[in-house]
Amino acid sequence: MDNSATAGMHLPWAGKKVRQELVEDELISLWHLAADNMRISQNMNVRTSVLNFVICAQDEKSAQEASVLLRDLSSTHIARVTLLILDPRSDIPSEVSTWITLRSFPIISDVMRHHFEQIAVTVNGAATHYADNIVEALLKPDLPVYLWWLNDLPEQLDVFQRLLRISSRVIIDSSRFSQPEKQMRAISTLLQESSHCALSDLTWGRVTALRELIAQFFDIADYRLYLMGLHTITIEYAVPSTQATTGAHAHLRKPGGALLLAAWLKTRLGWLLLEDEQDKYRDRESGVFSWHMSSRDMTKVVTQPASATEEGAQISTPPGGIDIEIRPRVLSDSEPGTICLVQLIGTDHGKQATFTIERGDDDDHVITSVDVPASTRPPRTVNIAATHKESKLLHNEMEITGRDHLYEKSLHEVFALLA
């Protein structure tokens, strides 16, 4: 592929540099070439036509890394990828440059290869303000647009907002935000104005495996008796060193996943955080968060079966309320922010049960265990490696259609917890 046809920026990995108005014609030529190759190589050429995938990066390195990751995403039936590299600096000329290529990956075996189109576009200077229009001209018709915003959000959100306008779903990773709390609030506000666009957060995806394991505890009828009596929730998240437990190194802490999990648990259990400051504790130095809640909205909670020993309808709920604590744990060999402990303690008519999910030998495994009076269940090792693989997380998010209301609700709960 000739990447030196025109002067200016070079992206050797991005394919052939073309004029933007000729993108479609040039792609047709590439498809003809690919068809010839297929006849020679006997591979079956497959094109899927399910979605447009727009990846927005702020530098070439991130874009190239995302381009490599596409290998693992061919199963998401991408029709066309647009890699958008934005450089909004005001001291550089406004310029748009375009490269095209076809990507081809084997599907399970090499007999069948999945092809899709990749267009890389660098947008510099003032032109970045019109990035949405530039992208819109390159979209395949009649297919939804999934926008993956890499890394941090920009200070000026207008470009992001305009891209939301043309997107069906935006995917972010809040664990990479430099100011996660502030930036997530901003996104949340923008989305309320763009009701057609759904939000996916890879941090929520990481937490979903733990949500499934927590749900499994209470799938068992005997254990569900303790559900409404849960009075203590402890969540620990990994930090790389003891330095991270000091205020000066707060940036090393990534409690986003733990906060989402806590918010989800709180919501599912119907607990309400009142305005009383005594009920909230946040140590900005050490990264510890804790809340005490004593009010509960039972209308938001599904009922549980009554205790077998009770007559009539009784619901067990802890009279002292619930304590939720999030705290860091130093684990040098763990990815920062990884949730390494979830423990739920509950009582039912004086009997106490403890439900634990704890990190195993590595980040890819957790051990679930239950300590319930007069009941034994062996601990179990579960593989959650998929939660650490970005492509897998993306794949899961790209399979979702429509808004994830549970995530959005949990997100708003996080704001309330941090308020």
């Binding site: 039936h77 069948m112 499994q216 799938d219 599912r268 039972m298 579960v382 593989n383």
Partner: protein, 516 residues
């Protein structure tokens, strides 16, 4: 806090999760666990379920079999089997450690009452140690001749009932040898277990592509209006195997293609294609519609059997680049055997939707390739506008093909103009491949079925009346074949698509077999 009436609660944490339904831990007791099915299919399926963690903590397996093994030997064999047959490799050692701690072995004969008492003791112990809460699945993976004594002994030991938890029984095909034995087996199992405890397995129903038949028909508005006698010319259902007996002469001689394939898998495919949309997607609503199709099949009795069926045995030939013997030369086959390795039949469904539309079914061993498909051929347009001699004859009918295996997917054949100045029409295929559109690895059929059984969802299992209705249809054919002359058993070359008689059989109707 407001008091509320207690109802059976759902799990509040389940909302928004992909897996919507609870799964309680249980013990799966596999009778005949040293056999092929357990090692090739069941254990790998259970391990994959453990790996993808819908399998609950505490899930346990008890292998109940005659061989003098113990826990350690069985666990070692399980490891070997999973290493060989699991769709996900290599084994994850940490998950394996959790999984293998739930595998146990109990040596006993199936007719030994004491063995069932020991089983009862072991199950109670597992309830205590592993929290299986009295939930049991009994899986009969033995030769069918042993089903009655196992079922009877389970009943005698009280294992069919629990003071707490649930009990289910999964029974492998073949379910009976004919209508009478199927009815008798139903009666025997019905004496011990209630119908909602009984899961008659047909693994075809667990295949993604078979489940997709209903989705395809009922989730897309464009197909249902043409899914009837006004637009469909005929339907061909093909299940072809390129393998031969593979050492199973003892079973196959008693079974033949009609019992091995037609009575179960192929009639299941037929019912799914032909049924009316159910009023709901619960197990009984779906199965009600399937049973209606079976009851509407035109019976084949007497002379109609020979007119509408062709049976044959494979002769010597070449398959997959290897020379193979004929059926009668296979070890364990009687030289005077009339067991069919190939059958083609034509049937009609007497209802408003399908009256007059022939359904052709064919299946056989040592055919050129392994393929299962349902092909719906539509009628030609009422007026052939492209009458020019260059184009006529090139305009083939539209065919919608549901490929079950391999190359799972759906294709639609239609005519398109060849670019150029003259009017040339060629047939083209519009393909949807599971393998490329959804590259996620498909779960094995047994994974889905075992999970459904644990969930208590019997939609993908056959019901008592369904089994008996299928047998009722087959019985007429079996009865006629018993007295039919030997020369009604044709021969075909291994590696060919069947006997000449089968070709003539469909040519008579002005149609031809597809080449899948």
């Amino acid at each position: 806090m407001p008091q509320r009436n207690v109802v059976e609660a759902s799990n509040p944490f389940r909302e928004g999760l992909r897996i919507k339904e609870s799964l309680e831990p249980c013990v799966m007791v596999i009778f005949g666990a040293t056999g092929d099915l357990t090692h090739r299919k069941l254990l790998p399926a259970l391990y994959n379920l453990a790996l993808e963690h819908p399998l609950p903590a505490g899930f346990s397996v008890v292998a109940f079999a005659r061989r003098p093994y113990d826990d350690e030997i069985f666990r070692k064999q399980a490891l070997d089997s999973i290493n060989q047959y699991s769709r996900q490799k290599p084994i994850n050692p940490q998950v394996w450690e959790s999984f293998v701690s739930g595998l146990h072995y109990l040596q006993s004969s199936f007719n030994e009452a004491e063995g069932y008492n020991k089983l009862n003791t072991l199950l109670n112990k597992l309830d205590q140690e592993r929290g299986t809460s009295g939930n049991r699945i009994f899986y009969l993976s033995t030769p069918p001749s042993q089903y009655p004594e196992i079922i009877q002994n389970l009943g005698a030991a009280g294992l069919n009932k629990n003071r707490k938890g649930w009990t289910r029984i999964i029974i492998e095909k073949p379910f009976g040898h004919d209508l009478a034995t199927a009815h008798e087996l139903n009666r025997q199992v019905g004496k011990v277990f209630k119908e909602d405890q009984i899961y008659r397995i047909d693994h075809y129903l667990g295949k993604e592509t078979v489940q997709n038949i209903n989705v395809f028909r009922l989730a897309n508005g464009i197909f249902e209006p043409v899914w009837n006698r006004r637009y469909v010319d005929h339907v061909q259902i093909t299940v072809a195997e390129n393998l031969g007996l593979e050492g199973r002469a003892g079973y196959y001689e008693e079974s033949g293609a009609i019992r091995d394939m037609i009575q179960n898998h192929m009639l299941q495919l037929l019912t799914l294609v032909a049924m009316e949309p159910p009023i709901a997607l619960d197990a009984n609503s779906v199965r009600d519609e399937k049973v209606k199709v079976l009851h509407a099949l035109q019976p084949l009795v007497g002379h109609d059997v020979l007119k509408n069926t062709i049976r044959a045995q494979y002769g010597p030939g070449w398959v997959g680049g290897h020379q193979v013997p004929g059926y009668l030369q296979e070890e364990g086959v009687s030289p005077t055997s009339t067991t069919e390795t190939y059958i083609a039949l034509k049937t009609f469904i007497d209802n408003w939707r399908w009256a007059g539309v022939p359904f052709y079914l064919r299946t056989g061993k040592h055919l050129p390739k392994r393929v299962s498909e349902v092909a719906i051929q539509f009628k030609q347009p009422p007026l052939m506008l492209f009458k020019d001699s260059d184009t006529q004859g090139q305009v083939e009918p539209n065919v919608l093909t549901l490929r079950i295996q391999p190359d799972e997917g759906i294709s639609l054949k239609f005519g398109a103009k060849v670019p150029g100045t003259d009017m040339q029409i060629r047939s083209v295929n519009m393909d949807f491949f599971y393998g490329s559109s959804f590259v996620r690895e498909q779960p094995e059929a047994y994974e889905r079925l075992l999970l459904d059984a644990m969930h208590g969802d019997s939609t993908l299992f056959t019901r008592r009346d369904e089994v008996e209705a299928a047998w009722a249809f087959i019985q007429g054919i079996l009865d006629e074949w018993k007295t039919a002359p030997r020369d009604t058993v044709h021969s075909y070359e291994s590696g060919s698509w069947g006997p000449q008689a089968a070709d003539e059989f469909i040519w008579r109707d002005g149609r031809r077999w597809r080449r899948p």
